[in-house]
Symmetry: C2
Subunit: 320 residues, 2 copies
């Protein structure tokens, strides 16, 4: 694998953890991380890209490890002062984190693309992997709930995922094109595998797959596509994945994840807790410990995914 490139699709916290493990194993420039931007929003006049930032902070080893997002050793003077001025404080922006949003917003207004900006800022923080926003166009995740149709952050942060979800849609996805770097990464003749990180399939990976042609490019790639299930024994590690699956009438089970990605993935990675599900699947499964509690966990899981992909790649090649 070290001679080829690897693409990983990722959303926020869970995906970033595996991405960080992969980044430690892959040579500089060989790991391409395609990131969800459906959660992006404008707030306080700033352009905020939560999943990109979580990924940048995680890879730059700046992340707040307790939260999984935001910066560690953060200060909160801005938020405090903003509250005193009567400003909106429901979305917590740390002082150091603000630099990212201010600089991104400034550069976007100056005409740079989100892809260019992300590459520049990641390079400044010495990140050796390529962080590729799924698109430079505007795609916005909206959640249809019993409390009406909500902007993603309104649902996710302001309302703390409490409303019941009826449907999820991705405004702008149909007209959006994958970013140029995304297409290059998927068409790279050195590409060896595509890994779908254990992010929320419905909120974090689906926006990506809804962009014109992207799902098809992945499904028809000549390399193994492997998903790491975000469900362990019927529960999500973090976030509202299990709750949303229930509300959407989907069994909270890794089988449902495999079903959701049917036609797209060639194999799946399951936790030991779901070992019994492996035989019910029509695709190969790697059973391992998928819970990433520390850096060693991330790296080990990343290593296993890479080895699994290499094994499948060999099989694919042998079959070709």
């Amino acid at each position: 694998m070290t001679k080829g490139t690897l693409v990983a699709l990722t959303g926020g916290v869970g995906g970033a953890k595996l991405a960080a493990g992969l980044a430690r194993l892959m040579p500089a420039g060989k790991l391409k991380l395609i990131v969800n931007t459906g959660d992006d929003f404008e707030h306080l006049g700033l352009q905020i890209s939560p999943d990109i930032d979580t990924l940048i902070y995680t890879l730059a080893n700046l992340v707040n490890q307790e939260n999984g997002w935001g910066r560690r050793d953060e200060t909160w003077s801005f938020m405090q002062a903003l509250g005193e001025l009567g400003g909106e404080t429901w979305f917590r922006l740390g002082d150091a984190d603000l630099a990212m949003h201010v600089e991104r917003t400034r550069r976007l207004r100056a005409g740079e693309t989100l892809s260019q900006i992300t590459a520049t800022l990641a390079r400044k923080l010495s990140i050796a992997s390529d962080i590729l926003p799924m698109t430079d166009h505007r795609v916005r995740t909206r959640v249809e709930t019993d409390a009406g149709t909500l902007d993603f952050q309104d649902y996710f942060v302001r309302k703390a995922c409490k409303p019941t979800v009826n449907a999820i849609r991705f405004d702008g996805a149909e007209g959006a094109q994958p970013a140029a770097g995304v297409i290059r990464a998927l068409e790279d003749p050195d590409l060896r595998a595509i890994i779908i990180c254990p992010s929320n399939p419905y909120l974090s990976i689906d926006p990506l797959l809804s962009i014109a042609g992207l799902r098809e490019r992945i499904a028809t790639a000549a390399v193994p596509v492997i998903a790491v299930s975000p469900i362990i024994g019927g529960a999500a590690v973090k976030g509202p994945t299990a709750k949303i699956m229930k509300e959407l009438g989907i069994a909270q089970c890794s089988l449902a994840i495999a079903q959701h990605y049917r036609g797209l993935i060639d194999a799946i990675v399951l936790d030991h807790a779901d070992r019994h599900l492996a035989e019910q699947l029509a695709i190969p499964a790697l059973v391992t410990n998928t819970l990433m509690r520390c850096e060693q966990d991330r790296e080990r899981l990343a290593e296993e995914c890479i080895a699994f992909a290499a094994q499948l790649h060999g099989r694919t090649r042998a079959g070709a």
Copy 2:
């Protein structure tokens, strides 16, 4: 004076000190502070109004007393992180201070005027005096120097006032109208006096006087107009006033200040160090201690200015 209203014209640090003294003596709503906005600029996509902020922080007792501007107990995480991202750091924005710029910028974009925003933010910080930006139009101070024509903050902060000044101009002033609140304050039948604070006449007060009709409204007001000289014994208390006067070929002397305001002011307040100049003036002078080192100094000078105005006001009335 407590039954009437008072108008003061002010720029940054020096003016804000006297304004704070006046604010402690005047009843709520009776002090109207007309503030220079020629120093305003857009930086990092944020709309920054340095003189308004210095005044707000000073009146709200939030100011960094060592600098005279910015907030005390400030943190600098944003600036540090911005530097790491390769952003511009020559204009130092503290974390709490940022809230002011972000909230102002957001409200301006939403269509509020600078006057409305300033009133709202000042009210949030329990400021009982009216802070009135000189205009809601865009006026920008530009400094013609031996290093070319510079934006004010470029000259003042980035180049630390080092270039030699040949001329100062106020782009947009001719087409700018005084803000509605400014006109109301000057036309108030209860107005008792107008005080020109010891701000830099050339950089901080002239922008104000260059706005269509404002100089005339002040010059023809039926109340005493008093300037407090920012020069003490040939030196400016703070900032580049004396250096600029020298470069513009003006004697660094309170006589030159009186000359500069000729036709506009009815009286001047001089420091004891300039006692000998009083007799060379064609207008009444109050000689006192004009250096404001502490709150007591501010309040005493404010009290003396108010008493001086009342005395002149009586004289004006008697003469009318």
